[in-house]
């Protein structure tokens, strides 16, 4: 592990009302690795990503990106950090009012890195990376299937050649074949652009395929972290229960999860 830490969460706490979602959570993501956080519904996986992106502010603790503490920084500094981050949302979160090509080029158009004239050509290249054709350039996101929307969302996430990419439940709601296709694409683009990837999912097949390391989040803390290849034989009771999907074990099933 000679590579530097890209993202470091240190004793991060976040509560909503009485519910403590993150409880002194620590996590280091190494530059260039693909880290996957697994965990049940309502365990704080999405909250973790939103805290790193600055969409939520932790109650306490530090979140360092490239060694800089990002908690409570100014809007301008946050925007500068977000420029090196790409994100694939669970529901793709494409902008309904814009055609596909403008969705893909959105950040670059906003920063005047490309002109509107060059936008469609640029979007065509990015769509090709995720296996979509130029015939979709002018389509509205509402006209695309769920799988296609995810792929356009992926093209948008990688358009800026980000140093960090977040994947929020990338295979949720997709059929097994489309889910495998998305997993392959994520693996491919991670290698292609060499970004540090952080994925949250409860799909074990997806986690093992796209992750270099996997962390299990439970009770607001990481209860196990290790290489993806070792997860089936790690001997950790939390991990074993999660993989087997057993209702009995150290993971308590919350009625309100």
């Amino acid at each position: 592990m000679s590579r530097p830490v890209k993202i470091s969460m240190q004793k991060v706490c976040k509560r909503f009302g009485e519910k403590r979602v993150l409880d002194n959570m620590d996590l280091d993501v190494i530059t260039g690795e693909s880290m996957v956080i697994i965990g049940g519904s309502g365990t704080g996986k999405s909250v973790t990503i939103k805290c790193i992106q600055g969409l939520l502010t932790p109650d306490s603790g530090s979140i360092l990106i490239d060694g800089i503490d990002t908690v409570g920084i100014s809007e301008a500094k946050r925007q500068a950090i977000n420029k090196q981050i790409g994100m694939l949302f669970q529901g793709a979160a494409l902008f309904d009012s814009l055609p596909v090509w403008e969705n893909v080029c959105f950040a670059l158009l906003a920063e005047h890195k490309i002109s509107r004239k060059d936008g469609p050509d640029f979007a065509r290249e990015k769509l090709a990376l995720v296996g979509l054709g130029a015939d979709l350039l002018m389509a509205s996101p509402a006209d695309l299937s769920g799988g296609m929307q995810k792929r356009v969302g992926l093209a948008r996430a990688i358009a800026n050649n980000p140093e960090i990419i977040f994947f929020d439940e990338p295979t949720t709601g997709l059929d097994p074949i489309m889910a495998d296709l998305i997993n392959n694409l994520i693996e491919h683009v991670n290698k292609e652009i060499g970004a540090t990837a952080l994925t949250i999912t409860h799909d074990m097949k997806s986690a093992k395929k796209i992750g270099d390391r996997i962390a299990l989040l439970y009770g607001g803390k990481i209860v196990w972290i290790g290489n993806a290849a070792d997860i089936d034989h790690c001997g950790n009771p939390y991990v074993e229960q999660f993989i087997q999907g057993a209702t009995t074990g150290p993971i308590k099933i919350s009625a309100r999860a």
């Binding site: 500068a80 309904d96 906003a110 948008r156």
Partner: protein
């Protein structure tokens, strides 16, 4: 004790909402003046709010002017004061009915659509996506709508005034048998710049309020379709109440000695 707790909760919620709305307003207005400026979006909003509201505002104004002429005639004919109809129509339309009726009609049309659009963007994570793409949602979504509301309402109300006065003319001339040139001369004589100007000031304030309520309720909507529906209702109701309240305040400022 429970009664006092309930009052306390209501008061706390009231002050929290007032604080949120104040901060939201300051942030939205400040982004109107700070670059970058999204000219295409501002233009699109101006067309949406101004051009596409013309039919509903025009129809409302023409019927308001017609009814005003008819009602005035019914009342004034008892005192042989039919000659004052043009006076009543022009003052009522320019001071009150033009801005208030246009404001209320556009509150229904634009307030609802802005709240629904931004609310849907909120619940489908499109607003989070904007942030991750280094675009400030207040600047991209809220500021253009506020500016378009402030700029387009006065133009809409100027058109509504003209159409409303024309509605009065139609009834006075074609139904009540007034001499056309006398009626136009009376209208012109009684029309004052201060009346028109007070209506235009009201229009700019109403435009700001309608856009603000649509943006605020949409931006803070949560809970899926039901939340968006609630935001839409709240936007229209609060904009309508604010229009009537500010109508009184501005009238008091302009016409009370």
């Amino acid at each position: 004790m429970n009664f006092l707790q309930a009052i306390g909760r209501i008061l706390l919620e009231f002050f929290a909402t007032a604080g949120r709305l104040t901060l939201f307003t300051i942030s939205g207005v400040s982004h109107i003046f700070r670059p970058p400026f999204y000219y295409r979006i501002i233009l699109k909003q101006m067309i949406d709010i101004g051009f596409y509201s013309l039919p509903v505002v025009g129809l409302t104004a023409v019927f308001a002017g017609m009814v005003l002429a008819l009602q005035s005639y019914t009342g004034f004919s008892r005192f042989q004061a039919e000659g004052a109809i043009a006076n009543v129509v022009v003052i009522s339309i320019t001071r009150e009915l033009g801005p208030v009726l246009a404001g209320l009609m556009v509150a229904g049309r634009i307030g609802a659509s802005v709240a629904a659009e931004i609310g849907t963007m909120r619940v489908t994570e499109q607003i989070d996506a904007l942030t991750t793409l280094s675009t400030n949602p207040m600047k991209y979504l809220v500021a253009p709508r506020l500016l378009a509301g402030i700029l387009m309402f006065p133009i809409l109300v100027t058109i509504a005034d003209s159409i409303g006065i024309f509605g009065g003319y139609i009834v006075a001339v074609f139904k009540l048998g007034f001499n056309p040139s006398n009626y136009i001369q009376n209208t012109w004589d009684f029309m004052t710049f201060s009346d028109y100007f007070s209506g235009i000031v009201k229009a700019a304030v109403f435009g700001f309020l309608v856009s603000l309520m649509g943006c605020y309720h949409g931006y803070h909507s949560k809970g899926g379709a039901q939340g968006v529906g609630m935001a839409t209702t709240n936007a229209v109701v609060s904009a309508s109440i604010l229009i009537l309240s500010f109508d009184y305040i501005i009238t008091e400022l302009f016409f009370t000695q």
